[in-house]
């Protein structure tokens, strides 16, 4: 068994989940509901990247910028057009969840209408290096670096900057934030934009690594939730640890499953078995953050 490779792959898997989960928890922490449309915003990011590189012929960094921007704008619009009006009308957590699923449907099938449901692949061939027992491709390295940078950057923003604190205040008590003079709408707009933008980036990474399909995001939504919940919503150290744990569990899990003669499709169950165990014994996730009553 090539454990070095498995470890490295875990880091790759985990990095993707990290970006996606960190983006998810931004809105999760603030708007207080799991945004299921996060999945389709990821898919959208991937397709925008595809469109920019394959159909417009621009270089990949441009594609990433475009994915961030367009996904961000869609996130912004979804907040303005759907989630803000709903919240203003006093929608419950479950209503918001259902609305986000509905938005996911709209996005997924709009993407499907434009680009079709058959998977598309990006034509970029990434150089692969064999370092000792390790096989490493350039895109994997870029992914890991990006994930760590995003994680640290966001953590810094939330704890150190004015807007970051405003975000947390709004998350905690929007009404009171308003009566402290915080323009909560602006705070939410920024958060939605950044969250969706990052989702777009995560989606494009996923697209680069595998392929593009309107189901791209949905396929990694459940592990993303697992990471977010395991890490504790809104905790970045927690998220990083959780991403690594889930990445590891999946990669080791597949090997063990194959060894045991079980279907490797059980892989998706692994993060959740861990998650449920953790939630039952430690409902706040890995994070120390503790929520008062």
């Amino acid at each position: 068994m090539n454990w070095a490779q498995i470890l490295f792959n875990s880091a790759v898997t985990g990095s993707l989940y990290l970006i996606s989960a960190v983006a998810l928890t931004l809105v999760y922490g603030l708007a207080k509901f799991p945004n299921f449309a996060h999945a389709e915003i990821m898919s959208l990011g991937g397709f925008i990247g595809f469109w920019v590189t394959e159909q417009l012929g621009a270089p990949l960094p441009v594609a990433f910028a475009a994915a961030f921007l367009v996904a961000g704008i869609v996130g912004y619009l979804s907040y303005r057009g759907i989630f803000k009006p709903l919240t203003d009308r006093g929608a419950s957590l479950i209503h918001l969840m259902v609305a986000s699923m509905a938005l996911g449907f709209i996005l997924r099938h709009t993407i499907g209408e434009i680009w079709g449901f058959s998977p598309l692949t990006l034509s970029i061939v990434w150089p692969a290096y064999d370092i000792g027992p390790l096989r490493v491709t350039l895109n994997w390295i870029i992914l890991i670096i990006t994930a760590v940078a995003v994680g640290i950057g966001l953590h810094f923003m939330l704890t150190r900057t004015r807007i970051g604190k405003a975000i947390r205040a709004t998350a905690s008590n929007p009404r009171l934030a308003l009566s402290s003079g915080i323009n909560t709408t602006r705070v939410l707009v920024i958060t939605w934009f950044v969250s969706a933008g990052l989702a777009g980036v995560a989606g494009l990474f996923r697209g680069v690594e595998t392929r593009l399909s309107p189901y791209l995001g949905w396929d990694i939504l459940l592990p993303t939730f697992a990471v977010a919940m395991l890490g504790g919503i809104g905790s970045f150290y927690g998220a990083m640890a959780a991403a690594l744990i889930i990445g590891l569990a999946e990669n080791v899990g597949v090997v063990l499953l194959a060894e045991a003669g079980l279907s490797t499709e059980y892989r998706m169950a692994i993060p959740f078995i861990i998650l449920i165990a953790v939630l039952i014994f430690r409902p706040q996730g890995l994070a120390k953050a503790f929520k008062g009553n």
Binding site: N2, N9, S118, S123, R211, Y215, V255
Partner: protein, 375 residues
């Protein structure tokens, strides 16, 4: 009033009501690459039949539904055609999964399904077989061909990587059975064809160091399998894959195609060498649609022709009669896919396969025949 018996209109002078012929083809999904070309094959046959006077003077009205390369969608399409459009005969569904989903319903509702391409061995002796006929050879035959390639090359450590569907598992089971005692299966992976990320599965396979990987899948998942196999370095083994892979799309992706050119070979049902009918059909098809007919185009054409001929002979209302008539016709029937002889179930008794490989020509890749295998 679809599928009404035209004998109620004995004068024959006024135009008879149309006969609805259904088709469930996978226009979207993992087989979208061949689905629409198969639909064209049916259209060609129907067009020719209508030009020759239709069925007993009635025009054939073809209704194509999208099976989406998905068992449930395929089943829904069958139900829709059978009820809303009152079709007694449906060409399709294409994939084994959809056929297995629809069979029971078809039998209960007395609708005949004729599939050009559903190859799973599990279909062979289903209780509802009276209402299902296929013009593609069962994978017991293709599996034999694939196993033979392994044995001939003397591979000892075999990995099996198939999509976890009735089709993929059918091939996996057949091949595994045939290889028993001749080679060791070191790893079996059945993957979800809709998930499209197989890095860790392939990694697990790679760590077993197989000499050869047996693969069965459809074009969409195959592209990703090959692409990611390249990434994890599974070109350390040779690959033998199935007919669901051989379409243009798999070689449109540079990385997948490069990988295929390097280590992949596969099998595919074809018409026997030098069959004149096949050449004629290919020419007609090309003239009509300006492209070459691909895999299963010949079988879909034969399926449609047989269906129309049987309806002509026994009427258009009784699926059981139509079914029996097709079996009767299918004794040394000269089809464009070769001579068709059905066994008691409605499976072909013989078939020809080609072994293919991928070669690079300039910046692009194409398929090339290595040899023919008769089963």
């Amino acid at each position: 009033a679809c599928g009404d018996d035209s004998t109620t209109n004995p004068t024959g002078t006024t135009s008879k009501p149309d006969v609805n012929l259904g088709a469930v083809m996978d226009l979207t999904g993992a087989l979208s690459g061949i689905g629409s070309s198969l639909a064209d094959g049916i259209r060609l046959a129907v067009k020719q039949a209508n030009a020759a006077g239709g069925i007993d003077g009635a025009r054939i009205n073809l209704i194509v539904e999208d099976g989406k390369t998905d068992p449930t969608a395929g089943f829904e399409a069958v139900k829709k055609l059978g009820t809303v459009n009152g079709c007694k005969v449906i060409i399709g569904p294409m994939i084994s999964g959809a056929v297995l989903a629809s069979g029971e319903w078809a039998a209960q509702n007395k609708v005949l399904l004729i599939s050009p391409s559903a190859t799973s061995p599990a279909i062979t002796n289903q209780a509802w077989r009276q209402y299902f006929i296929r013009t593609a050879p069962s994978d017991t035959l293709q599996g034999k061909a694939m196993a033979q390639l392994v044995i001939d090359a003397g591979y000892k450590n075999v990995a099996i990587v198939v999509q976890n569907t009735q089709y993929g598992v059918g091939i996996a089971d057949t091949v595994t059975g045939l290889l028993a005692g001749k080679a060791t299966v070191v790893s079996t992976v059945k993957y979800d064809p809709t998930k499209l990320d197989y890095l860790s599965d392939l990694q697990a396979v790679k760590s077993k160091n197989p000499d050869v990987v047996i693969h069965a899948g459809y074009e969409d998942d195959a592209v990703i399998i090959f692409k990611q196999a390249a990434q994890v370095g599974l070109d350390s083994a040779k690959w033998i894959t199935s007919e669901g892979v051989k379409v243009d799309k798999t070689i449109a992706d540079a990385q997948a195609a490069a990988f295929m050119a390097k280590v992949v070979t596969g099998t595919n049902p074809v018409a026997p060498a030098g069959l004149a009918l096949a050449a004629t059909y290919a020419a007609q098809y090309k003239a009509e649609y300006n492209r070459d007919p691909g895999t299963y185009n010949d079988t879909v054409y034969d399926a449609t022709k047989l269906a129309i001929a049987a309806m002509q002979n026994v009427g258009t209302t009784d699926a059981a009669k139509i079914s029996a008539e097709i079996l009767r016709l299918g004794k040394n029937y000269a089809g464009v896919s070769g001579t068709i002889t059905f066994d008691q179930y409605g499976d072909r008794t013989t078939a020809t396969f080609e072994q293919w490989k991928v070669v690079q020509s300039g910046a692009t890749y194409k398929y090339e025949q290595i040899k023919l295998i008769n089963q």
